[in-house]
Amino acid sequence: MNTYSESLQLNVGEIKIKKTKLGRYKLKKRDSKDKLVMVVIAAMFFSLIYYLGFEVDYKWDMFSPHIAKKIVMDFFRFDLVPADEKLGMLSRLTNTVLLGLLTTLLGAAVSFPLGLLAANNISSNKISTFVNAIVSFLRAVPTIVWVLIFVAGYGLSATTAIVGMTFHTIAFFVKSFSESFEEVDPGAIEALKASGASMPQIIFGAIVPSAYTKLISWIAMRTEINFAVAVVIGPAVGVPGTIGTAINVYSGHANYSAMGFGVMCVFLIALAFELIITRIKQTQII
């Protein structure tokens, strides 16, 4: 042992270790990529300062202390909202949650086979690249834009919202499902292959059981996202009977307590989703 550490000490003198300008030893080798990242961050930082400082028109003169005070005072006065309006709001909330769930489940059902095709350890390289290319294009366009595109076909209706949201959900799920499939231990796949199992048998025997909890947690996460989208999609394409539309109408009528009640409902549902997802993630790690 002694001789070994002695020889080590000897080597430290001989090996040249690069130092930074501050005289510390360098632990990383920096290359042009790191510099590029620094340049981009600096550019974004300065453009943000320029934009906030010189470009934005703040319109402070439009600010009315009277209205601000009314909003703050009325926002949490849920007692000012009549009971039948509260009930109506709750039924609209249910609609919104269902819209989120429906689009997520539809999307998941369509994405499962597409996800298998997009996973490069299951399908061929060509098919996987092809599916991934299409899907990344679909994903690059935001949900709300897809919904607006479908307005052309289905008009301002619930169908538009469902089709548009499902469309983007599929793009999201194909990517996340295929990545979950790709993370499956290649050894387990090899073992089943070596015992004479066919590809569908490997999918149902090894890949799906291994990726199962990940798929569930992706679906839970997307349900939350789709709920949030369902809230804002209502006023955007005029889906009647969603909470977003109701909040929008109350805002127009300056009925701030009803608006506050609606926002509180949305917040509580979002919180519930968050708690459920955390729970799923905890149980998933096995």
Binding site: G187, A191, S195, A197, S198, P200, F204, G205, S210
Partner: protein
Amino acid sequence: MTEQTVLRVENVDKIYKNGVKALSGVSFNVDNGEFVSVIGPSGSGKSTLLRCINRMIDASKGDIYFIGQSVNKADKHQIKEIRKNIGMIFQHYNLVYRLNALENVLHGKLGSYSTVQSALGLYTAKDVEKAIEILHMLGLEERVYEQCSNLSGGQKQRVGIARALIQGPKMILCDEPIASLDPQASKVIMEYLYDITRTFGIPCLVNLHQVEVAKSYSDRIIGLRNGEIVFSGKPGELTADMISHIYGVSSEELIS
């Protein structure tokens, strides 16, 4: 070739796409009831050789005959039949850890089921009974319904052996079955493999890193170096000189 010969490897070469020559001119036979070890340094082609036998990897040249059937000329259907008849055991067990021991053992039988049956888990009562029987035989009767991620390394490997056995294999290939196990679990696994060869007469071809283990269990040892067979003989014939020839260093530099 006698009636006894299960596997005949003839002049097999394997050159990977990147130009690496993994095997060159490998020829040997494995007879019924024989326990054959393959030793050699890392990168000597042991794993490649094993995977050429059930055609997980295609050999570049030469041919392999498994019970008289050419492996290299086999079509898709024939390859499936060959694979069904060869059990394989892996260093990292290669189980589906989210499933329990029983389900993993039954995976060995997937090849004989239709896609729908296997997707719904509709295994026959006979196969389930057999799986439980094999798990009992390997001392895992308490662990039948245990999720595989909760098993110890030795237990996982026993599930791996059970998965190979339920196939009713005519031969078992083991790719470094004890490389990730502690000495005691290693001994248990080697004893089971040895017993299987002796009691059922199923020949075993085992890749090993431990020369001493190979010496004490094998009927025959094959030494690979740079993809070529440099030794083939009884354990008694494997001298210290030969070991250093296989590994390319003097045997004092090896941990036995």
